[in-house]
């Protein structure tokens, strides 16, 4: 199964395609064979060894780590996972760099566009965005590599596809489609007229909202200009009109009460907790009465230190330093603090992960995602 073609999707030479496929296979090998194996090595060899030495099982994450790090299998597997992560972006990046001028030209906004794009060259890039390249993706989502740049968007589109070895679907949108589908079936009478997707990236989570509510006006914002330009060109080419703008989710330029639904997907796990709180306050300001906020709940709270350890690979190995903060944040409390009525809080409960990412999120590891979390403004 290949990615759905659109105007700005990078092309591959024979060998570029082969190298990218290899990266996907390496990711799969790590995710489905090596990493689940670390649990077996822990349970069969390293926890028993720790117990023999200490007369008790490991009691916290540090001790679990100490116990498993005795294993060569663990250390080497971990390293292979990191190698796959780095190699993926570099392999995809080399191919995109070669065709970047052509991609920029194809991404230029056209007068016949049905959606729109707004770039804000004066937007302050938050320090947390500039200080760590999330997922070890060099340049992150915001670094400009020249005029009208779309590099980061293209990199993420191709990269995520191989990262999930196709598991996100031909349009990388399985998560967004599942989220919109869930909201529709849970609240069949809710008919949002204006929808905002915060941290929209290349639009994988944004287009599904327009497809689920064709009459709604759908907006997507992201901190990264190259990502937003790419998202616009991609959406136009796929024939889904969306309004994209480069904005900080913590403070936008939309008017009070201008949306019925404010949502985000895979955004909060990349943000420090104090800014998640400010984003919830901004969400409250942007919603009208009866308006809804809906986010993905990240990874479910871990059941004990061993589970905690085996489901936080990305935090330790793939530059997701903020994901631990989200995991410990009481979202019901955070929404209430932002002004939402405490009794309006709702959650889908744990769900089978659509995305393999959590690893603990994976079916192979028997994991779940925390599902969706939301609230309503009165």
């Amino acid at each position: 199964m290949a990615q759905t073609r659109h105007a700005v999707l990078p092309e591959q030479t024979h060998d570029e395609a082969a190298r990218e496929e290899y990266c996907g296979t390496l990711r799969k090998f790590f995710t489905e064979t090596l990493w689940p194996g670390t649990r077996e090595v822990y349970a069969g060899l390293e926890r028993p060894r720790f117990e023999r030495e200490h007369g008790r099982p490991p009691m916290n994450v540090r001790e679990v780590k100490q116990a498993i790090e005795h294993s060569f299998y663990y250390r080497a597997s971990n390293l292979v996972g990191r190698c796959a992560q780095e190699l993926l972006w570099d392999t995809v990046g080399e191919s995109i760099e070669r065709q970047l001028p052509a991609l920029r030209a194809k991404a230029k906004p056209r007068s016949e566009a049905r959606g729109s794009v707004r770039i804000n060259p004066d937007l302050a890039i938050p320090r947390y965005v500039d200080s760590v390249d999330i997922h070890v993706m060099p340049g992150n989502f915001h670094t400009e590599r020249g005029e009208d740049d779309v590099y980061a968007g293209a990199l993420y589109d191709r990269g995520v596809y191989h990262f999930a070895y196709g598991g996100m679907g031909p349009e990388n949108d399985k998560l967004g489609v599942a989220m919109a589908g869930w909201l529709k079936s849970r609240f069949p009478d809710f008919q949002p007229k204006r929808i905002l997707d915060m941290g929209c990236g290349p639009g994988f989570s944004t287009l599904p909202w327009k497809q689920a509510y064709p009459d709604a006006e759908v907006h997507g914002i992201d901190i990264g200009a190259p990502t937003i330009r790419y998202a616009h060109a991609r959406a136009e080419s796929l024939g889904v009109p969306v309004h994209f703008s480069q904005q900080d989710a913590v403070q936008t330029d939309f008017a009070d009460g201008s949306f019925d639904l404010v949502t985000s997907c895979l955004l909060t796990h990349e943000m420090p907790v104090h800014l998640i709180r400010r984003m919830f306050a901004e969400t409250y300001r942007l919603l009208g009465a009866g308006g809804m906020s809906l986010i993905d709940g990240g990874a479910p709270p871990a059941d004990g230190p061993e589970e905690e350890f085996f489901t936080t690979w990305f935090n330790r190995n793939a530059n997701e330093p903020f994901s631990a903060g989200l995991r410990n944040l009481d979202l019901a409390e955070a929404f209430a603090t932002a002004g939402f009525p405490a009794d309006a809080f709702f959650t889908s409960g744990a769900r089978d992960a659509v995305y393999l990412k959590g690893m603990g999120g994976t079916k192979q590891a028997g994991g779940k995602s925390a599902g969706y979390v939301g609230t309503v403004k009165r």
């Binding site: 199964m1 030479t13 024979h14 060998d15 082969a18 190298r19 496929e21 290899y22 990266c23 296979t25 390496l26 799969k28 090998f29 064979t33 090596l34 194996g37 077996e40 090595v41 349970a43 069969g44 060899l45 028993p48 294993s71 060569f72 299998y73 080497a76 597997s77 390293l79 292979v80 190698c83 796959a84 780095e86 190699l87 392999t91």
Partner: protein, 125 residues
Amino acid sequence: MSENVARPRVAKGPKRPRYLRDAELDRFMMMFTALIGEVSALRDRLATHEALAAQGQIATAEAIESYRPSPDDESARGIAREAMLHRVFRVLMEELEQARTAGNDADLDAVLAEDDARSASPVTA
């Protein structure tokens, strides 16, 4: 002199200096996984040569670039890639196998001891 003297393969002199530190092995794994990628890409290219040949075509650079693997061909390549990774990283799997069989295996020392004991005692009819 009729026979060649075997060529020396170790140079006399100071011991080979020590070059790498432990953490530098990590970077070697980076190079190693990238190198497997090159081998894998080469293997795919070869598969394309074979596929073109099967269609009676000559594998010019152009023909290779415009070749699109069929879904069957695609999944065969994926399986071959995975099999290659399992072979290359075989040594990693040792501990995993141990973990899976922990406690189940007969202890070789015990088997040998038993064998010793039996061979020491006279064979009874």
